[in-house]
């Protein structure tokens, strides 16, 4: 977290990672410029493709994930899109968890479909559904280590084995767990994705994303990686770059062509976050567990869905994959009878310390009531159907002193029920 990816340079000796806020890099001579463009040398050309500050963030994240390398992007959504655009061709299919973050579902359902890539959603807790959904054109499986917002835990090991049998990669969004809680590649996944905006950064200042790859998947039957690429004068990424093939293609082609690069300053700020990831996550999960226990015992709370609690149906999976500490984002339901929508709004109005906004993974505690914000256009019945009932509140538990958080929740719950 503190050293990987950065060697203090001998000339200046700066201990912190320098911010290379530049669009482009001067070539040594015409020959080496040509070789850089042909990918015969590794080096910096243009910040849309690579940048020395960003490279520190990438290598550090790759090291944390036990990956062979990483590519940073403008956002988590961009990391997801760059991954799919590197792997897929029109007519390909993706099998994905139905518990994905809503923004991801929209990208998969609408943007990918525009590109003739079909998506089948499955209940991620049922291996038989994953298996049945795989067809001859299925090119990948996709899920979240810890689902958003319901906090379901992905059973990585059998899912990776299933992907292996079908010779397709398992892609895992590891945003909520971070590599501190779980390294999906160690369980057999091929690619992990992050919204670095969340816990990796932790400060809520910078939007960014990153994808990391294991280097262990054989892409020889993936035409996008192993056939000569028309977008790179016939280059065969699989043959020329071995286990770096996927990542080189993601950077030199997809990132170049989509333009979804991160700014060097944001990469720098995310590096600052990574440096304290372990101590922050320790506090995040300790606070989250205490808040979940407090809510379970509170009379104004109907239910708490946190797999860290022993009574949760997925507690065993949480113990297996995230040491029983499934992150700091979870949901609970207000004991509000028929009027969950109004009770949720009252609860939000009464809170003093939790910030009401649409993000998670900040150092500060955050709260949102989906029925009155992100999902307000849906009817009560529709809300229940998509797993977001009207009385549901989502918390992202921050690093504040625990007593302050419990005080705030308690007084807001009293204000709601009185």
């Amino acid at each position: 977290m503190l050293h990987a990816g950065h060697v203090p340079d001998a000339e200046v000796g700066a201990r912190a990672v320098p911010i290379y806020q530049t669009t482009s890099f001067v070539f040594d001579d015409p020959e080496s410029a040509a070789q850089l463009f042909e990918l015969k040398q590794y080096g910096n050309i243009y910040t849309r493709i690579a940048n020395p500050t960003t490279a520190v963030f990438e290598e550090r994240l790759a090291s944390l994930e036990n990956a062979t390398g990483a590519v940073a992007t403008a956002s988590g959504m961009a990391a997801q899109f760059v991954t799919f655009m590197t792997l897929f061709e029109p007519g390909d299919e993706l099998v994905a968890s139905a518990h994905l973050y809503g923004g991801s579902v929209t990208q998969l359902t609408h943007t990918l479909r525009k590109l003739s890539i079909d998506v089948r959603f499955v209940d991620p807790t049922r291996l038989d559904e994953w298996e049945r959904a795989i067809g001859p054109r299925t090119r990948a499986l996709y899920g979240e280590t810890i689902g958003n917002p319901r906090g379901s835990i992905l059973d990585l090991e059998p899912l990776a084995a299933l992907a292996d049998i079908h010779r397709i990669p398992l892609i895992v969004d590891n945003t909520f767990a971070t590599p501190w809680l779980c390294r999906p590649l160690d369980w057999g996944a091929t690619i992990t994705l992050h919204s670095a905006t969340k816990f990796l950064g932790g400060h809520g200042t910078s939007i960014g994303g990153v994808l990391a790859e294991s280097g262990k998947f054989d892409y020889s039957h993936y035409p996008t990686i192993a056939k000569p690429s028309p977008a790179y004068h016939g280059l065969n990424f699989y043959e020329n770059f071995g286990h770096y093939g996927f990542l080189m293609k993601a950077r030199a082609e997809t990132l170049r062509d989509t333009g979804a690069c991160i700014s060097p300053t944001n990469a720098f700020l995310l590096i600052q976050g990574l440096e304290t990831l372990s101590v922050r996550m320790e506090r995040h999960v300790a606070n989250a567990m205490a808040v979940a226990r407090f809510l379970t015992e509170h009379p104004a709370v109907a239910w708490v869905e946190y797999a860290g609690l022993p009574e949760h149906p997925q507690h065993a999976l949480a113990r297996k994959y995230v040491c029983g500490r499934p992150g700091a984002v979870f949901s609970f339901g207000l004991a509000a009878g028929d009027d969950g929508r109004e009770a949720g709004a009252r609860f939000i109005r009464a809170l003093q310390i939790f910030s009401h906004l649409a993000n998670v993974g900040d150092a500060r505690s955050l709260v949102i009531h989906p029925a009155s914000t992100t999902h307000q256009q849906l009817s009560d019945e529709e809300l229940v159907r998509c797993g977001v009932p009207p009385e549901m509140i989502r918390l992202s538990v921050g690093l504040e002193t625990l007593e302050d958080l419990l005080w705030d929740l308690d007084q807001a719950l009293h204000a709601t029920s009185s």
Binding site: H3, A4, G5, V7, P8, D9, A10, G13, E31, S32, Q35, L39, K40, Q41, Y42, G43, N44, A50, P52, T54, A55, E58, E59, A62, S63, N66, A67, T68, G69, A70, V71, A72, S214, G215, K216, P228, G234, L235, N236, E239, N240, G242, H243, Y244, L247, M248, R251
Partner: protein
């Protein structure tokens, strides 16, 4: 930290070799020493096709200051250097033999390298040439197998890091990234 004495972790990713084979044929100290001491590299199986991996590696090594000696019986000149039909024909000493040929023809290449008193032989990524590697090892050559000479050079010289790859080099020491 791996078996190397340098400030780096040993790369355990992406190999099919056993622990023992990795200690012998992917040794970090051996790799660094070979890259440092080598000036002239005979590339057996260097292709005439600019899109092939062997050309990527050859071009890279030339740019990094090594003299590349093509070994290819079907060519007369590759990358501006005269090509030789086999290792025996090269009339001057080389420091390293880098092999881009399938595993089943590697024994003969190893035998020629031993006869020519080449100090080191390197079988490229994904080449399974265990018998040839052991042959060369017994004859006292430094041996590397199932690794790419370009990736390893880029890893130690620092340029691989620019591509966002995991070099597993972890050090707080102020220094130039580089082989020395």
């Amino acid at each position: 930290m791996g078996p190397g004495s340098g400030p780096a972790c040993d790369i355990q990713l992406n190999t099919r070799l056993t622990e023992d084979q990795r200690r012998r044929f992917q040794n970090v100290d051996t790799i660094r020493r070979v890259l440092q001491q080598t000036r002239t590299i005979a590339i057996v199986g260097l292709s005439t096709d600019p899109a092939k991996a062997s050309q990527f590696v050859g071009t890279y090594l030339q740019h990094e200051g090594y003299r590349v000696v093509p070994v290819n019986p079907k060519a007369t000149e590759i990358l501006g250097e005269p090509a030789w039909p086999d290792l025996r024909s090269i009339p001057f000493p080389v420091d390293l033999v880098d092999v881009f040929r399938p595993g089943n023809v590697c024994n003969a290449i190893a035998e020629q390298a031993i006869a020519a008193r080449v100090p080191a032989i390197w079988f490229q990524l994904r080449i399974d040439a265990l018998e040839a590697a052991e042959l060369a090892e017994r004859a006292g050559l430094a041996v590397v197998m199932d690794r790419c000479v370009k990736m390893e050079h880029g890893r130690w010289a620092g340029s691989l890091h620019w591509a966002g790859m995991n070099t597993e080099i972890v050090t707080a020491r102020k220094r130039h990234r580089g082989l020395l």
